[in-house]
């Protein structure tokens, strides 16, 4: 452990950059410095999402032809090249970011204003702060690895180009989500990843079940998006945005007042949502624009690329905004008064911040598969396994966690919202883990495990331990990607068999896959040998220590207990999957591949996957080890690297959360850690006893003894069925009622009208037939004859036309003169 600490210190020093270590003393000084977020303008951030976008477009437009003409390697190399370029650019940005002073670590790349409508200003602006930098590195690094892996995995699929176009498109959307500097871009990305998820789950769309799973994922996410958008609207409204300006409000310009310590915001804020400009300010002060604010904030004036120094109490634009940075400034800088205003606002009697937090979290429940909207994720395993690893484990599903961490300054203001998030996370974690106990499909086990781990992350961000939740996001991205890709390797090796009952003994056939899977199992189940332990333990400790961050101080302890039990379950089902898959004898049939088509190598014994896949697995396993050092605690008073790294982002909520904490002693922390290790061993031991080498008969006996319970859990507590019976049934009933109404009332009216109409028509028909038709036919015959005659005028001779045209023109000229 001592050695680890040394290594950790080394990494810490490296991350802090030169000349940084001496500065920034302890807490108080840093809290006091919390002012306007300073940032640096750069011009290259757009490149990061640009490369995958180009890859996606090229592969989508000409990919099919490229593949046909030059083979698959062109398509795959293009996609991987795009990912590599994005990763390299991200690394450059990382170096740039590290070079900044700690509290000025924000790179902004403003491209252009997409539209401005009233107070809504949607800019195409990319921003990188330590949090989004971490996400971008995860996305591009693991994304690139999974691209490489996919080459081997999708080798047999004829639609490689389509797959890689989707994958690149997904990475582009995900980068948009995390790099967007405002809600609009985040929402674009949010929807984009939803779309890509849909496309990739339904990649084999000819299989109706897979297409259905895709639709399910898409529709479930729409429900969440609805909540997300509502929350966004509510927040915008609370900040003073509105559709129609009331008469008491001065013109748009003057509502933007420069708030600084001398002019308290409250003095200008009237009842309701109106902002009245300070009379001393507005006549003389021109409207504040971005450029002006920035000009004021720097001594040397604004110029592109200049870093703008923080000045305590620097100018902040107050009012409705979509930009994260502006929102953060408004809330974090106390003197603007926005914080007080938001905490005081109610919406139909409900505290507004809680409502906003919960609504935004509804969006997160769908995207990040939490109760009650988690149902789509297990079905999403219908997609190709690399997709499950990239989208449904490492990146997209963590978007909700990212969003909460990004808006930590907002969520931390409402303990209600925090409680909801933490409790939902805890419930989801336990619930999903229990389903994972009995699943036989290896990917389903991992899917429920993902849901459960996402629950852990939400416990983390829910109790205010934003960095712990984010750290778990990071570690989970590595070990779950490794597990999923390992399962993909197994599935490929066993000839598209996903049922663990038909595997077993694969240790012999797939040694490298087995080793990486083993290490990832160690990570997820919480042995202090891999990254998972450190993040999970931190979350549990912070939950235990939550205190008044939650609605009830005791709730933190309950959540810890739930999390602890879940950790036990996690260890159990993960080791179960390991033992079922890799130990014992191979239970799959020899040459049992049903389809029996032209796949030459199919049938027969399992085989190790190609090197491009196993090396990716190895890289991820190494990543699982290395990321330990990001979260390793140091000697007393020194935070882990990642916590230090994220501190500028989390600073606005830091003091608040820390003040509300329970402040348990270090002894408790050590005890909890020991408890964590204990459950990891417990789960492992139990799984080993029950499933190693498939010798024990206890599982079968248990299942036979409690068949109903077993069935109940195996069928996922019938949640899908319950949804079908309740929500869907209600919708169906509504649809049926509409149908009935349509048929009886509307159709009746229509039919009645039709009967009357028919009678009139009969009469009319008679008239029509003899009178009108006669006339029409006469006219038609006339037209025909006339046309025939006129046809001769169309001679095809230019001069004839010219004669006519000139004669007409001359006539007009003459007429003009004659009339005069």
């Amino acid at each position: 452990m001592d050695l680890l600490c040394h290594v950790r210190d080394f990494v810490l020093a490296a991350a802090e950059g030169a000349g940084e270590a001496a500065k920034h003393g302890e807490g108080a000084a840093r809290e006091a410095a919390l002012g306007v977020q300073a940032f640096k303008r750069v011009g290259y951030l757009w490149l990061i999402p640009f490369f995958p976008m180009v890859g996606a477009i090229v592969n989508a437009v000409v990919g099919a032809r490229l593949q046909k003409r030059f083979g698959k390697s062109v398509v795959t190399n293009l996609a991987i090249g795009a990912m590599a370029a994005a990763f390299v650019t991200a690394a450059v940005a990382f170096v740039d970011l590290v070079g900044q002073p700690e509290h000025e670590r924000l790179l902004v790349n403003h491209l252009w204003n997409m539209f401005t409508a009233g107070d809504v200003q949607a800019n195409l602006t990319f921003a990188l702060d330590p949090l989004s930098m971490m996400m971008v590195l995860i996305i591009t690094f693991i994304g690139a690895l999974i691209h490489v892996y996919s080459v081997g995995y999708m080798a047999e699929d004829p639609d490689t180009w389509r797959f890689f176009a989707y994958l690149n498109l997904f990475v582009f959307s995900m980068l948009l989500l995390v790099m967007g500097d405002n809600f609009v871009l985040m929402f674009f990305g949010w929807e984009g990843v939803g779309l890509c998820s849909y496309l990739l789950i339904g990649f084999w769309y000819k299989d109706i079940d897979k297409a259905k799973a895709a639709v399910k994922a898409f529709v479930t996410n729409r429900i969440g998006d609805f909540g997300f958008v509502l929350g966004l609207f509510l927040l915008f409204w609370a900040l003073g945005g509105q559709w129609e300006k009331r008469s008491v409000i001065p013109p748009h310009e003057s509502r933007w007042a420069l708030a600084d310590p001398a002019h308290l915001y409250e003095a200008r804020a009237e009842a309701g949502t109106t902002y009245v400009a300070d009379p001393t300010l507005s006549p003389q002060t021109p409207p504040a624009t971005y450029a002006e604010v920035e000009k004021l904030a720097t001594p040397e004036g604004w110029r592109p690329g200049a870093s703008i120094a923080t000045r305590d109490g620097g100018k902040v634009r107050v009012g409705p905004t979509l930009s994260f940075r502006e929102l953060r400034d408004q809330i974090a800088v106390e003197s603007t008064g926005v914080k007080n205003r938001l905490t005081g606002l109610t919406f139909f009697g409900m505290p507004l911040l809680a409502l906003v937090g919960i609504l935004l979290f509804v969006g997160a429940t769908a995207k990040s598969a939490q109760i009650p909207l988690y149902v789509w994720l297990p079905d999403a395993m219908a997609g190709p396994t690399p997709v499950s690893a990239l989208i449904h484990a490492a990146t997209m599903v963590t978007a909700g966690v990212y969003m909460v961490a990004r808006l930590n300054f907002l969520f931390a203001l409402s303990t209600t919202a925090m409680t909801v998030i933490a409790c939902t996370g805890a419930a989801t974690a336990l619930f999903a883990a229990s389903i994972g106990f009995v699943q036989n499909d290896i990917k389903k086990v991992l899917a429920y495990s993902t849901v459960s781990q996402l629950g852990f992350m939400f416990i983390g961000v829910g109790v205010g331990a934003y960095w712990a939740g984010t750290y778990h996001l990071l570690t989970h991205a590595f070990f779950k990607a490794c597990l999923f890709l390992g399962s993909g390797s197994v599935i490929l090796g066993c000839h598209h068999e996903q049922d663990m009952r038909k595997m077993g003994g694969l240790k012999k056939y797939m040694p490298l896959t087995e080793k990486t899977y083993l290490y990832a199992c160690i990570a997820i189940s919480g042995f202090p040998l891999a990254n998972g332990f450190f993040s999970k333990d931190e979350i549990l400790w912070k939950a235990f220590d939550a205190g008044n961050n939650l609605a009830d101080p005791a709730l933190g302890k309950v959540i810890w207990l739930v999390g602890w039990v879940t950790a036990l379950g996690t260890a159990f089902y993960m080791w179960r999957s390991y033992y079922l898959t890799f130990t014992g004898e191979y239970r799959g049939g020899h040459g049992a591949h049903e389809s029996g088509d032209a796949h030459g190598h199919h049938g027969g014994l399992p085989h190790e996957s190609p090197r491009s896949m196993t090396w990716v697995l190895a890289a991820l396993a190494v990543g699982c080890f290395l990321t330990i050092f990001l979260g390793l605690w140091g000697p007393a008073g020194v935070e882990p690297v990642l916590e230090r790294w994220l501190e500028p982002v989390l600073a606005p909520s830091h003091a608040l959360v820390a003040a509300r904490g329970a402040h348990e002693g270090p002894l408790a922390e050590w005890l909890l850690m020991a408890a964590s290790v204990a459950v990891a061993f417990g789960g492992w031991a139990a799984a080993r006893a029950l499933y190693k080498d498939a010798k024990s008969t206890v599982p079968a006996t248990l299942a036979a003894k409690y068949p109903r319970l077993h069935r109940w859990v195996l069928d996922k507590y019938y949640v899908d069925e319950a949804y079908r019976k309740t929500v869907l049934a209600a919708i169906w009933a509504g649809a049926k009622a509409c149908d009935l109404f349509d048929r009886v009332v509307v159709d009746g009216a229509v039919n009645a009208a039709a009967a009357v109409g028919r009678f009139v028509c009969d009469v009319d028909g008679a008239i029509d037939k003899y009178l009108v038709d006669g006339a029409v036919n006469f006219v038609a015959d006339g037209a025909l004859g006339f046309g025939r005659a006129l046809r001769r005028v169309q001679t095809g001779r230019l001069e004839h036309y010219l004669y006519a045209a000139v004669a007409g023109a001359l006539a007009v000229v003459l007429l003009t003169f004659l009339v005069q």
């Binding site: 001069e799 004669y803 000139v806 004669a807 001359l810 000229v813 003459l814 003169f817």
Partner: protein, 204 residues
Amino acid sequence: MKTVAGYATVIVMTAALFAELTMLVPGLHWGPSEGPLLTVGDAVFYLLASVAMVSAVLVAFSKSILYSAIALLGALLGAGGLYVLLRADFVAVTQLLIYIGGVLVLILFAVMLTSRIGQASATNPATSVVAGLVLLAALGAVLGFAAAEAPWKGAAHPLELEATAERIGDLFLGHYLVAFEVISLLLLATLVGAVVVARKEIKE
């Protein structure tokens, strides 16, 4: 002989037209009526107008397509001279460059490529000459009458002979920018289109 007759016709016609313009229509005054009857500048106008019109007559009536083409040169040159008189130096130069240097050469090429000049006596046949002459007379009369009779508000005002290229450039890149860009696109399309139409089909 025919050519000589053609020239005579045109000269007579021109004289008639200007007679109509200057004498038959009473009360036409484009300025104070003192000074010499005809200044040198005025004489130049009549010369250039005659060249343009006589050449145009040749274009219209010549039996040989080659003569027509050569006569077209005269018509274009005359018109270009008129532009100079009208203080449109840039247009005149453009006329010289594009019409005479470009279009005319193109036409000559087309003539050479398509007609067997040496063999045919009448390379530029005409049909329905009578109807054409009627049209010519009607058009000439009506348009000339309109040009002479219409109560034009404009008056010749003294202008310095100044270079117009700069101001035209401003107009192109300012007021008429869209039209300018569109026409440049059109030229590009024409270029491509002409190549596509004129190239030989490659037989498989």
